[in-house]
Symmetry: C2
Subunit: 243 residues, 2 copies
């Protein structure tokens, strides 16, 4: 039976989503628990995509196959009892054998959080602390220019082995509530560092270091060196995966 | 010169406020930084009181004396640059030589946070996760019975070397917002585990295991074994110290 799970995690407690030698990962913790549930037969999970070290998820998704028969409710309970409190499986559903958590993704939603207020130690790993003032209206105008179909090479990790840099962004939004800025992107998919690079660019616009229309010109350059800094991992949340 | 600082900390990163051998503490981290600022001459700080391992502070206060001359603004900057991001000094003021951060406390405010909604991994160390339903109205009625002058021996750590268990609670409140219950106590002072024991008792009332009026009868018993469980540390915040 193939299962699809939706889960949240505290990215600050891991070296990233993907399994790697010597470092703990979210994938490894889930696979270890699932192997136990599967009677010791090893289980591999396929997520909608990886997240980098320090990046959080409110709703990440992954599929896997089990040899044993177990109800979705029992599976949810068993999984949550075997993993640490740094990950939480929110739902488990059965899916067909041809479902794939990565290839079947229709849209993804990312949210980036910036604290514009006083530094709070308990939020250290969960929000980007920004102490200078930002022109929110410029940022709100600029983010709209990312919407649509674009080549995002300027906003992707340099030297990635990708040939297709074209992605579609359907929706963007910036709101500020209680001194926290929430920057939302919904799109077909996001390449490595893409959201953090767009956020870094928007911050430079908010600082007045760049103009709103620079979004258009830098997209057209298709050159990573033309864009701004990468915003830090702690503010980023994979918020939703839509199939 | 004597200084009074107000600071916030993430209690989950320490073994408690007070200095102890082999374990990191908030006091030690601040004293190490202050000793550096004081040109290597050791500095001892006196807080309004200690907090236990895992308990957070939004606004803890402490005083100390420095041999050197430094402005309050410079001192705030220097301190925050020398301590980790798990503590943040929010303000520094000069006080008279007879001011004492512990003996001059007039009131303290504690807030206890309970998450009644879905478990969230990134809130693991910052809120008490409670998965059963609670009768909030009973709890709201019961908490009012803690107000006033009472002997709180039933709600204090057993076997403490204290002879005076009488304290005054001026104000209490319970509000629920977005599935988070906030329980507030303002009083002259709180003994060890006192807030967490009162919260544990209120939860048992919310669960229907005890009656509202049990607050009165258990206060009168003056016997720790008659009260309920101690609520866990992660939900507790020292929110304010009033001089």
């Amino acid at each position: 039976m193939r299962y699809l799970i939706t889960f949240a995690y505290d990215g600050s407690k891991y070296h990233g989503y993907q399994k790697q030698i010597h470092d703990n990962s979210i994938q490894e913790e889930l696979e270890t628990a699932l192997t136990t549930i599967n009677g010791g037969q090893s289980v591999s999970i396929n997520a909608s995509g990886r997240t980098d070290a320090g990046v959080h998820a409110n709703n990440q998704c992954a599929h896997f196959d089990l040899d044993i028969s177990i109800s979705t409710e029992q599976l949810k309970k068993a999984l949550n009892s075997l993993i640490s409190g740094n990950i939480y499986v929110k739902s488990v559903v059965e899916v067909s054998k041809d479902f794939h958590a990565r290839f079947d993704v229709k849209q993804k939603e990312y949210i980036y959080k910036i604290n514009l207020g006083e530094y709070n130690p308990i939020e250290k790993d969960y929000v980007y602390q920004y102490n200078k003032s930002l022109d929110v209206n410029s940022m709100k105008s600029a983010i709209k220019l990312f919407e649509g179909i674009h080549n995002f090479k300027s906003f992707t990790k340099a030297n990635v082995e990708t040939y297709d840099f074209v992605r579609t962004i359907y929706f963007t939004d910036i709101t500020v509530k209680d001194n926290i800025m929430f920057i939302t992107f919904i799109g077909t998919g996001f390449m490595r560092y893409m959201v953090r690079n767009m956020v870094g660019f928007l911050i430079e616009i908010g600082e007045g270091k760049r103009n709103i229309l620079d979004v258009n010109s830098v997209l057209l350059e298709e050159d990573r060196t033309k864009a701004g800094k990468t915003a830090p991992a702690e503010g980023l949340y994979l918020n939703k995966v839509i199939y």
